[in-house]
């Protein structure tokens, strides 16, 4: 049996078995769940090789499965994050209802993402895409909250995107008589001009929805915050990357061949920039950590889209690197929120405070992820940001670099809000009983945190597979030109040597940490957060002095003009208008037999009157 079949069948079978046998006992269910994620993962990395395709026929369409270098890169994200999140999920979801359903959906979405990566043809791509959509939809509505609003919004947007894609697919089929992606790419040059524009546009709509690009992002905040955190980690970390994956293929393989196609690229890049800014500003305004991270995901995906839109080798490197990094740190942050929500019962930043001493490990992983998110060296987030800026400057996008930089600086605001809201601030009696999350949740988080550090020092570990993927897409090798294992170069040959910098940072930090610790060690005393210099007042046990309401009010006041208009309201306006129209069409069916008879008579009279116009020979 082909290994690819086996992997997908294992996933699918695992999903079904977990659901069915999970009813017997929770332990069997958990074991089945983890093993049906881990075993195919191991099989995949051990046995599947790039370039080995299998193909078969369904309904006259030739389908082909295999893995490419680019897809292999994304499979690191999917399977790596998937395995960690699944281990986490078992501990995090313990005791919840309907777990079999949750687990099997989890496996299904991993399967569908792997399917997308394995698809070498458009139809199976679309099939797995849709499976991914509905399995993630079921996750969004899993908790039964805001189902009709958030869930339907998510699905409608996904469906619009998917159907745009489907339209492109059938048009491609009619033009090339083949559904293989390679055939599309090879024959794209011979399409007519209108098709050259139409097909990439339609495909891009599909991918833009999943990667939450402005103005198709409105589903994302609700959907991300509504699904269980163990899954949102996958949702934001890996699932949105499928949009990125598709977008890269389209932008590189198709859009580059459109005459004047750079306008499309510019538009995409600018939309990405606007997405980044909008997402960041809205993230700053959020009080719920999940919403905050959701908007932040939108913003981060905006950077990635900018990179893809620019399309120079350095920009592609940065986009892909940021995609990997985003999967790591945002996946981790959602896991952190999940852990906190599990321990405290809320994810509201204004309610929880001072968990740093209660959940130190969670804090450390959150800290690493936040530093990576903010793009501060020496963690991995910086590498992607750096390459993005350099590529933007190198490709003459001066205003865009300002836009991106603004968004990236404003990201410090919500980064800090996240850390402060949960971990810092006053330690409240209300949360004094909180314990650290179980080891099964902490270990995946710590692994991801360490990954951010390692990739910050040795980005070559990820840049190498990215380079392979880019070469496959037709770029020249960038190794040595733009990066080495631990160094980065820009178009002009300027460099960042990461290793000495990281060592310097560590050395300075250790020196001063030692200085602060040793100097007057005996006389350094820990005092509680109630012991603060607040005009001599002693806060009572129940008094919460933590400043968390209207956290960035001055900033928000300053940016108010930008945030007055919400795309969301336009969409709901359109939606309501459409429903009103639909209500009108409903009234055609009056429920009165005479009316219906009248319709019939009018029908035939009209046809007879215009028969020559209609059927004239």
């Amino acid at each position: 049996m082909e290994m690819i079949y086996l992997i997908l069948v294992l996933f699918l079978g695992g999903a079904v078995l977990t659901w069915l046998l999970g009813k017997i006992s929770p332990i069997i269910r958990d074991i089945l769940f983890i093993s049906s994620v881990i075993i195919p993962t191991v099989l995949f990395f051990m046995n599947v090789e790039v370039g080995h395709d299998v193909s078969f026929q369904v309904l006259g369409y030739k389908l082909s499965w295999g893995i490419s270098y680019l897809a292999y890169l994304f499979s690191y994200i999917v399977l790596g994050l998937g395995s960690l999140a699944s281990v986490y999920a078992v501990a995090a979801m313990k005791g919840k209802k309907n777990l079999g359903f949750f687990y099997s959906n989890f496996i299904l979405s991993i399967m569908s993402m792997m399917g997308i990566l394995l698809s070498r043809d458009l139809i199976s791509f679309f099939i797995f895409w849709e499976i991914m959509t509905w399995s993630s939809y079921l996750m969004v509505v899993f908790r039964g909250k805001d189902v009709q609003k958030v869930g339907i919004k998510y699905f409608v947007f996904s469906a619009i995107g998917a159907y745009a894609m489907l339209m492109a697919i059938v048009i491609v089929n009619s033009l090339t008589n083949s559904l293989l992606i390679s055939d599309l790419v090879s024959s794209f040059g011979s399409f007519s001009l209108s098709m050259k524009w139409l097909i990439p546009l339609l495909l891009l709509i599909g991918f833009a929805v999943k990667s939450a690009m402005m103005p198709l992002h409105v589903w994302a905040p609700g959907a991300y915050s509504n699904s269980p955190m163990a899954f949102t980690s996958m949702f934001s970390g890996a699932l949105s990357k499928m949009g990125v994956y598709g977008m890269i293929i389209v932008m590189v393989s198709l859009v580059s061949y459109i005459p004047n196609g750079f306008w499309l690229k510019e538009t995409i890049a600018w939309l990405g920039g606007i997405t980044a800014v909008g997402g960041t500003l809205w993230a700053v305004a959020q009080d719920d950590a999940k919403k905050l991270l959701a908007y932040s995901s939108v913003a981060q995906l905006g950077y990635i889209i900018v990179g893809i839109g620019i399309g120079t080798p350095l920009a592609m490197l940065s986009a892909l690197f940021m995609a990997v990094m985003h999967a790591i740190f945002k996946g981790n942050l959602f896991l952190v929120v999940g852990a906190i929500e599990r321990q405290t019962g809320t994810s509201n930043l204004t309610e929880v405070s001072g968990l740093i001493r209660k959940m130190p490990w969670t804090f450390i992983s959150a800290l690493f992820s936040i530093i990576a998110l903010a793009g501060i060296p020496p963690l991995g987030g910086f590498v992607g940001k750096w390459m993005l800026y350099e590529s933007l400057i190198g490709s003459n996008h001066y205003l865009l670099v300002i836009v991106v930089f603004f968004s990236s600086t404003a990201a410090f605001l919500y980064s800090y809000k996240f850390l402060f809201g949960f971990f810092l601030g006053q330690e409240e009696k209300e949360w004094s009983h909180i314990k650290e999350a179980p080891a099964m949740m902490v270990v995946p988080m710590m692994i991801l945190a360490v990954a951010t550090f390692v990739l910050g020092t040795f980005p070559g570990l990820v840049l190498n597979p990215i380079d392979n993927g880019l070469q496959e897409l037709g770029f020249a090798s960038t190794q040595g030109r733009y990066w080495e294992m631990s160094a980065l170069f820009n178009e002009w040959g300027n460099q960042v040597m990461l290793q000495p910098l990281v060592y310097a940072i560590i050395a300075v930090f250790l020196f001063f940490a030692a200085f602060l610790t040793i100097k007057g060690f005996k006389h350094t005393r820990y005092v509680t957060t109630k012991d603060i210099s607040s005009s001599g007042e002693v806060p009572k046990e129940h008094e919460n002095l933590t400043f968390s309401q209207n956290f960035f009010q001055p900033f928000l006041r300053a940016v108010e003009p930008f945030m007055k208009r919400r795309i969301d309201t336009y969409y709901s306006g359109i939606g309501n208008g459409l429903e009103a129209i639909f209500d009108f069409t409903r009234r055609i069916y009056t429920g009165n037999g005479q009316t219906y008879a009248l319709y019939a008579v009018i029908f035939i009279v009209v046809l007879l009157m215009f028969k020559n116009a209609l059927f004239g020979l």
């Binding site: 005393r525 210099s533 001599g536 002693v538």
Partner: protein, 181 residues
């Protein structure tokens, strides 16, 4: 060699000199005396030339300047602020209200003698003392520091029980963190 008595003395002298010339003053504006601090700090009298500088919080302050009468309610806060300051620290009682109650000698809610509750290093008398006397008080404190005699904090630590008893006598509802240096 470093730990022997003489070198410690030299270090002490140096440190006392630095302390003397860098006084971060936390002016606890309790009474009418608060209005005397701005002229002391600004152009006319310019206390900054002695290295005196306003500190915003007790954590950074060296000198606690109590500018006037203390109600029992305020005393509780002042004690709190004093205990939050980092060693070495000094207290200046400012105005006759801190010395003997001044015009509030029969008030039902102001304390009359500050040094029963906090270790005062220097008193500045007057009602109110003018900036000149404030500066002279501070200079007195500086000379005490240089001589190593401004050891109110040490006294407070030694006689904590006595101070506590006095404090608790008028503040029956004593809810404060322990002072355990």
């Amino acid at each position: 060699m470093i730990n022997d008595k003489n070198s410690q003395k030299i270090v002490d002298i140096l440190q006392n000199w630095a302390r003397k010339h860098s006084l971060f003053v936390l002016a606890y504006g309790t009474g009418c005396g608060a209005i005397e601090i701005p002229p002391t700090m600004t152009s006319r009298y310019d206390a900054e030339r002695f290295g005196i500088r306003g500190a915003a919080t007790p954590r950074q302050a060296d000198v606690l300047l109590i500018t006037g009468y203390l109600t029992t309610k305020t005393l509780k806060r002042v004690i709190r602020v004093y205990e939050q300051m980092q060693d070495p620290k000094y207290v200046i009682g400012f105005g006759s209200c801190t010395i003997n109650g001044g015009m509030y000698y029969d008030s039902y809610n102001t304390i009359k003698v500050l040094d029963k509750y906090l270790p005062v290093d220097v008193y500045i008398n007057g009602c109110m003392p003018r900036p000149e006397s404030v500066i002279s008080g501070i200079v007195k404190l500086q000379s005490l520091i240089a001589e190593g005699k401004a050891n109110g904090a040490a006294k407070y630590k030694e006689n904590l029980d006595w101070y506590r008893a006095n404090q608790k006598k008028i503040i029956p509802n004593w809810v404060m963190p322990e002072y355990n240096w």
